[in-house]
């Protein structure tokens, strides 16, 4: 009885390997398709004009997304002014001080924050900023994205700091360096490349977010340097063009999407490179 059964078990074994491999293939297929299509549809439109011009009126061909790229940059700058200090500070607190119940509460809250849908964050930024300013603004967009950056940076900072061996801190204390100095000059410095990659990762995450900008930054067909005015952003522009009725705007949507994905993949690859070279290179 044993031997007969074995053939069936062996067959199931091989079947599962095949199914699992098939699943992997099916999952990686859209990956290839998306990247492939982005390049195929977008690369033709990537030229100097596209990168330096602002959009033409609807229906006209040509024009570019220069203002959207710049706008995204402005909004991200505002976002990082809010998100990076709070995120790193929270991460430092959790790693160096927060071992007890309060630390768990903060960590849990940060995870909660991470899971809040980005559109809801947009509503909150609207409620906090747009309603009082009575108009859309880059500031509101920055607030929304900044809030989103906090939990990402905090968790990664905490993880990086926890990787710094306790013996390093004790060596510093033993030399008479006070706690605050130790954390700043020794611990943070050692983990700095890891923290920088965490910040870059959070950029990559929020740079592609559209939903929270829909009614905060809102978008703009022209250049804008004023943080209190509606501002264009790359993902917003892609969205608007994608759902527009004009073919030429569809073409530009692909080009914009290609730019966005290239920026994201480049920063992710940099992150991976830095991470694999190790965290403890003396913080340089």
């Amino acid at each position: 009885m044993m031997l007969k059964k074995y053939w069936w078990r062996s067959f199931k074994d091989k079947l599962v390997v095949g199914l699992a491999a098939g699943a992997t293939f099916m999952v990686l297929l859209p990956l290839g398709a998306i990247f492939g299509y982005l390049v195929y549809r977008g690369i033709g439109s990537l030229n100097w004009n596209f990168l330096t011009q602002i959009p033409k009126p609807p229906g006209e061909t040509g024009g570019g997304m220069a203002n959207a790229i710049a706008g995204s940059g402005l909004i991200l700058l505002i976002a990082s002014l809010i998100g990076v200090p709070m995120g790193i500070g929270t991460g430092v607190y959790l790693a160096e001080f927060g071992k007890k119940r309060f630390g768990y509460l903060i960590r849990f809250t940060a995870d909660v924050l991470n899971g809040v849908p980005s559109i809801v964050i947009g509503i909150v930024a609207y409620s906090l900023v747009v309603i009082y300013q009575k108009h859309f603004s880059a500031l509101a967009g920055g607030v929304a994205l900044g809030i989103m950056m906090v939990p990402i940076i905090s968790r990664a900072t905490e993880e990086m700091l926890l990787m710094v061996p306790q013996s390093l801190r004790e060596a510093a204390w033993g030399l008479g360096i006070p706690q605050w100095r130790t954390t700043l000059s020794i611990t943070l410095r050692t983990a700095s490349s890891g923290i920088i990659t965490a910040v870059m990762l959070s950029f990559a995450r929020v740079a592609g977010e559209t939903a929270p900008l829909l009614f905060t930054a809102f978008g703009n067909q022209y250049w804008n340097k004023n943080i209190n005015q509606p501002t264009a952003a790359l993902p917003l522009q892609i969205f608007n063009y994608a759902i527009s009725p004009f073919d030429d705007e569809h073409r530009q949507a692909w080009a914009g999407a290609l730019i966005l994905i290239v920026l994201i993949v480049v920063s992710m690859s940099l992150v991976r490179m830095v991470a694999s070279r190790g965290v403890f290179k003396g913080g340089n």
Binding site: M1, M2, K5, Y6, R9, S10
Partner: protein, 253 residues
């Protein structure tokens, strides 16, 4: 009834490390054979070659032949799955399946082999637990208690019962009592005494007194080599090789 094991020119590697070298051994049926030696001498690796567990680790290699009864363990048509059923293994740290009840732990191997009949399973589970001297302690909560909720000694006996349930011919034990307290250890040793009537037992141990207590034969390993293999009595009172004598008398290891 147990079968004998014939090991012929057995070599095993971890990557480039030659862990087991040219082992030549005839392990007699229905007796307990102890494998002793200092840490890192290859005793566990050797034993794991007998039931083809060594190859589950990546980057490993085995060369040579092992014959259990009439079967070539590393023969061309032999399935590792079948070998592992016929050669039971008990590990150093008890590893019952935590998501399963005591009953399901013992029945796990049977279910894999297609046993569905409730009464058959009940019978075999009870028989195995009795053989492992665990029946009386768990018979009232077979399906309620999880495998992991037992004490360390009980868990190990559960693992023994689990191995016995699939009717092996050989039982390999890799330091089965080293993680247990003295009382559980002596229970396990009593068990081995009972089991060797029906099974061939190979027990790896770093405890020489244990080897002397339970095994009729003992093999002394050193840096991957089999130094001496003889009746336990002879190894411990009048070893032939100086290195064996040095180890026995505690000069190293």
């Amino acid at each position: 009834m147990g079968v004998g094991i014939q090991v012929n020119q057995l070599n095993a590697w971890f990557g480039n490390t030659h862990a087991v070298r040219d082992i030549q051994m005839d392990i007699p049926a229905n007796h307990a054979t102890a494998i002793i030696g200092p840490s890192g001498c290859g005793k566990s690796t050797f034993v794991r070659c007998l039931n083809r567990m060594h190859e589950t680790i990546p980057n490993t290699r085995v060369q040579g032949t092992v014959k259990i009864g009439d079967t070539h363990v590393y023969g061309n048509g032999t399935s590792a799955v079948e070998i592992r059923r016929r050669v039971g293994m008990v590990f150093q740290k008890p590893n019952p399946f935590p998501t399963m009840s005591v009953y399901d732990n013992v029945a796990a191997g049977l279910k894999l082999n297609g046993y569905r009949n409730r009464r058959e399973l009940d019978e075999i589970v009870e028989r195995s637990l009795r053989q492992a001297a665990l029946w009386d302690e768990v018979k009232d909560s077979l399906k309620k208690k999880s495998g992991a909720s037992l004490s360390g000694g009980q868990q190990q006996r559960l693992c023994i019962a689990r191995a016995l349930a699939v009717e092996p011919e050989v039982m390999l034990m890799d330091e089965p009592a080293s993680a247990l307290d003295p009382i559980s250890t002596s229970k396990i040793e009593d068990l081995i005494f009972e089991l060797k009537q029906n099974y061939t037992i190979v027990i790896v141990t770093h405890n020489m007194q244990q080897a002397a207590r339970v095994a009729e034969f003992t093999a002394f390993f050193l840096i991957g080599n089999l130094i001496e293999f003889d009746k336990t009595e002879k190894i411990f009172t009048n070893p032939s090789d100086k290195r064996t004598e040095d180890y026995i008398t505690g000069r190293f290891g």
